[in-house]
């Protein structure tokens, strides 16, 4: 009888695991790197900053405001249980990535903004809830 390696197999917890892609649990959009939450004023013309290196740095929203509700309108949000769980997991994930507290309000708006850029996947989700069903 022979066939398997004698002795220890590889270290499953080694960082360079070849199965990293299989174990990943994050949703990563293929076309963009996750960026830190940086918000530029919407009235700033796009592409302006690519013309010349101007030394004008936009202070990120997080540091400009007095409180998390500044510059935001309150909208009620009703979530299903599993969505809440997933939201909490996402919050932990980002707190790990940034190694600092992440405001739930910030996370929610960020999730919203990303969702708004992915209407097709959003459509699928709505269809799961029964939208688009016809009863002929």
């Amino acid at each position: 009888m022979t066939g398997m390696k004698k002795g220890a197999g590889e270290d499953p917890f080694a960082d360079d695991s070849s199965t990293e892609s299989a174990t990943t649990t994050e949703t990563q959009t293929k076309d963009s790197e996750p960026e830190p939450a940086e918000e530029t004023d919407s009235n700033q013309a796009e592409g302006e900053d690519t013309q010349q290196p101007r030394q004008q740095i936009q202070i990120p929203y997080k540091f400009r405001r007095d409180g998390v509700q500044d510059g935001r309108d309150r909208v009620p949000l009703f979530l299903q249980k599993e969505t809440k769980v997933a939201e909490r997991d996402a919050l932990r994930e980002f707190e790990d990535r940034f190694e600092e507290n992440v405001s739930l309000t910030d996370l929610r708006e960020a999730l919203m903004k990303v969702g708004l850029q992915h209407l097709d996947e959003t459509e699928e989700c709505l269809e799961e809830w029964g939208y688009g069903m016809t009863f002929d």
């Binding site: 009888m1 022979t2 066939g3 398997m4 390696k5 004698k6 002795g7 220890a8 197999g9 590889e10 270290d11 499953p12 917890f13 070849s18 199965t19 892609s21 299989a22 174990t23 990943t24 649990t25 949703t27 599993e82 769980v85 997933a86 997991d89 996947e121 699928e124």
Partner: protein, 291 residues
């Protein structure tokens, strides 16, 4: 970190008692072991250690964590018995394949990757298990499926309790075929730390089968039916059973305990772990120093 899964064909080989007693042997030597049993049937490691009281209740459990729907922290799943941390089995394990498949379909609809066989490793990694523990032992069922694959994927090393018979030989050959396919599919390397022949009666046929096993055999364990039955009755390890439930010490049973100690040392050596407080093998009254 020492990580291994115990594997043997179903029934009677003492796979679960081997996993349980090795875990206690590691703990006796001052190491911190975590045991993750994955058997969907009763008569499993959780029952052996008496931590299966909630397996039918609607409580948070390892399956929920594997399908990314935990109802609490991983740490809260853990029960500690005889110095060994255990993640108790739950009846949701019966439907693990379906749960994983559903999660995979869902993820793929969202354009995500979801490795069905990589979820246990993910859960353990996210829970910080490699930082927290010295030894990880998985005790999966022998049947091919997500329990076994997740265990092998999370540990990459095997300890094979084997019956020294034609049936045992066939089981090892079956395992070799299974692991070979699995290694290719997931691009991982699996190794066999030890084969542990159990139920040895020293017949010519048995010696012949053992001679053909090409893996390290640190010890050959003789038939210990009475000792193992006692463990199931009292829901404890062989070490505790001999210490607390035998009115007299039997030399041959002490020898079996010594064998578990020596196998544990052999496995630790394979990955360069030096146990801080190893007992004299078979010393039933060894003082466990907990850090």
């Amino acid at each position: 970190m020492l990580t291994y899964s115990t594997y043997s064909e179903a029934g009677g080989v003492g796979k679960t008692t081997t996993a349980a007693n090795l875990a206690v042997a590691h703990a006796r030597a001052g190491l911190k072991p975590l045991v993750v049993p994955l058997d969907p049937q009763d008569g499993d490691l959780s029952r052996l250690f008496g931590v299966d009281d909630q397996r039918t209740d609607s409580v948070d459990n390892i399956v929920r964590h594997m399908i990314r729907r935990p109802n609490g922290d991983f740490d809260d799943l853990i029960r500690t018995v005889e110095g060994v941390d255990i993640v108790p089995e739950h009846n949701m394990l019966s439907d693990l394949a379906d749960f994983l498949q559903r999660e995979k379909d869902q993820a793929e609809a969202m354009g995500e990757a979801f490795g069905m066989h990589a979820q246990l490793l993910r859960v353990l990694r996210e829970a910080g298990v490699p930082e927290e523990y010295d030894v990880l032992i998985c005790d999966p069922p022998a049947t091919e499926g997500p329990h076994l694959y997740n265990a092998i994927h999370a540990t990459r090393s095997l300890v094979i309790p084997v019956e020294p018979s034609a049936k045992g030989r066939a089981a090892v050959e079956g395992l070799e075929a299974l692991v070979a396919g699995f290694e290719d599919q997931l691009e991982i390397d699996v190794g066999v730390l030890a084969a542990v022949p159990t139920g040895f009666k020293n017949t010519r046929d048995q010696r012949q089968v053992l001679a053909e096993i090409d893996y390290p055999i640190p010890e050959i364990i003789s038939e210990r039916a009475s000792l193992m039955e006692g463990c199931w009755m009292e829901q404890c390890s062989a070490f505790k059973y001999v210490r607390e439930h035998r009115n007299r010490r039997r030399d041959y049973e002490i020898e079996t305990l010594a064998q578990f100690d020596r196998i544990a040392r052999h496995l630790e050596e394979q990955v360069g772990i030096d146990a801080p407080n190893p007992p004299e093998p078979g010393d039933v009254d060894h003082e466990v120093v907990t850090v």
